[in-house]
């Protein structure tokens, strides 16, 4: 049962990996650059 759950989880994660790689989304970059946050007009942070 747990092995099948792990199999399902793993397949889902591999497909997610393929998808995120394809759109150029990086987990580590998202963490470090805060790209999960809102984007604003040019120079808004200054």
């Amino acid at each position: 049962m747990m092995a099948k759950l792990y199999l399902t989880f793993g397949v889902f994660m591999i497909l997610s990996f393929f998808h995120f790689n394809n759109i150029g989304w990086g987990f580590m970059q998202a963490l470090s650059s805060g790209s999960w946050g809102p984007k604003g007009p040019a120079g808004y942070h200054k």
Binding site: M1, M2, A3, Y6, L7, F9, G10, M13, I14, F17, F18, F20, N21, I23, G24, W25, G26, F27, M28, Q29, A30, S33, S35, K39, G40, P41, A42, G43, Y44, H45, K46
Partner: protein, 430 residues
């Protein structure tokens, strides 16, 4: 704990115990060779018309079976009646376990054994296993040696298909392949092999409609299956995942194109309080892809950094990021040293295609130099990154490692009761 399934049956032979006069029943007529009186525990020859006493048991010991004799129940699709019960112990009389003889006129005899609340459903086999030093193989299954010792009958009740005696002793070898156990019981005259399968006590309680509770299982039984996922199965999936991950990652590394879309040199003037720049426009092709920005500045014992906006010229939206370089070097008592680098890269996630430029604010550590300094910014589209790859390897490894550790802990407890543990060995200095 009386079973409600206790029944009176036709075909049962009854006679009076020649020792105490209590009524003795024989259910497996023609197959039962001895029967132990439920009242005085004398063992009587069931094949003798005069019902000769084979053994008078002087001990006052009386063990109450958890499943009373005469109880019927449907187990594994067959109705069995409990016709015999014995308690046995090891040669040192330290460990005691109980065995119930089940009988069905068509299927014959089966056993239920119970030790420390763990139950086994046991069938005698006619195939003779191939035995090597620590394994036994039968029916294409390999069992590992778990125990060698003696078993001694300490108490009997009811019928048996041999002439049982209290004190009777046999040599025992148990081999395991959870949830199965292959057992060999031998005397100098005969050897009997049987296969037991671990069975939940609740299944037996339900089958024989026993009220009350059975003893709670203590510790880990030799052939008890682990509740955790089989770590070998999980490990197999884990290997597939790694293969898939490596295949995707290296296919991406080899096949994907990463064009440089901007290489531009800017001049930093340390005499200005604000150094702002705007790059040339550049095109990011395709849909959502990442962008790598590489910054190179010839700093020396100093730092340099930029605060930049990647501006989409179509809608003015910007993604802001900061990036810096620092490079220090010197000589101390250990010799020359250096740290940092004059170049750094930054990857921006999932940037939509379109026309962009960079707005840059640059700053540098004050080194009292007034010389102008050129720095280079290079932008590449769709580079291969390793963060997702490494993160996913770690994520997918957590459960296999946990399952392996849990299975190993379980197996260590199981084998701690064996002299033949594959997890450690007893060494002797003799």
């Amino acid at each position: 704990m009386a079973g409600e399934n206790q029944v009176e049956r036709k075909g049962v032979v009854k006679f009076d115990c020649p020792n105490c006069g209590a009524t003795v029943n024989v259910t497996a007529v023609g197959q039962t060779l001895s029967v132990a009186c439920g009242s005085c525990a004398s063992i009587i020859d069931a094949t003798d018309e005069r019902h000769q006493i084979l053994q008078k048991v002087a001990s006052a010991k009386k063990v109450e079976p958890l499943i009373p004799l005469g109880t019927r129940g449907k187990l594994r699709g067959t109705v069995y009646e409990v016709i015999g019960f014995m308690e046995r112990c090891d040669g040192t009389r330290t460990y005691f376990w109980r065995e119930y003889l089940l009988f069905n006129p068509k299927k014959g005899f089966r056993w239920l054994t119970e030790f420390d609340g763990h139950w086994n459903y046991v069938i005698s086999i006619k195939d003779k296993p191939e035995v090597s030093q620590n394994t036994a193989t039968v029916l294409n299954k390999v069992y590992r040696l778990f125990l060698k010792g003696q078993a001694q009958v300490s108490f009997v009740l009811g019928e048996f298909y041999w002439r049982v005696k209290v004190g009777e002793q046999v040599n025992v070898r148990d081999y395991i392949r959870p949830p199965e156990m292959l057992s060999c019981e031998g005397t100098k005259d005969e050897t009997i092999w049987s296969i037991g399968e671990y069975i939940n006590g609740d299944e037996i309680r339900t089958a024989f409609n026993i009220k009350g509770t059975f003893p709670f299982p203590m510790g880990v039984a030799p052939n008890q299956p682990t509740k955790a996922a089989k770590s070998s199965e999980v490990r197999r999936y884990w290997k597939w995942f790694l293969i898939a991950l490596f295949a995707f990652q290296f296919a991406d590394l080899i096949l994907s194109r990463s064009p440089t879309v901007l290489t531009q040199v800017f001049t930093f003037n340390p005499q200005l309080t604000v150094n702002s720049f705007q790059s040339d426009s550049f095109e990011l092709t395709g849909g959502s892809k990442n962008v790598e920005v590489r910054l190179r500045a010839p700093v020396s014992n100093n730092w340099f950094e930029i605060e930049a906006d990647l501006v989409n010229e179509a809608d003015g939206d910007a993604e802001s990021f900061g990036q810096g370089v620092e490079y220090y070097y010197g000589v101390d008592s250990d010799g020359s040293w250096s740290e940092g680098s004059q170049a750094s890269t930054k990857v921006l996630s999932a940037v939509e295609g379109g026309r962009y430029h960079l707005k840059i604010n640059a700053s540098r550590g004050n080194d009292y130099s007034t010389a102008l300094m050129n720095f280079e910014v290079r932008v590449k589209r769709n580079v291969t990154t390793w963060g997702n790859f490494i993160f996913l390897i770690i994520l997918l490894s957590i459960y296999p490692i946990w399952a392996w550790w849990r299975e190993r802990s379980f197996e260590s407890v199981r084998w701690s009761q064996s002299d033949y543990s594959p997890y450690w060995s007893f060494s002797s200095e003799d």
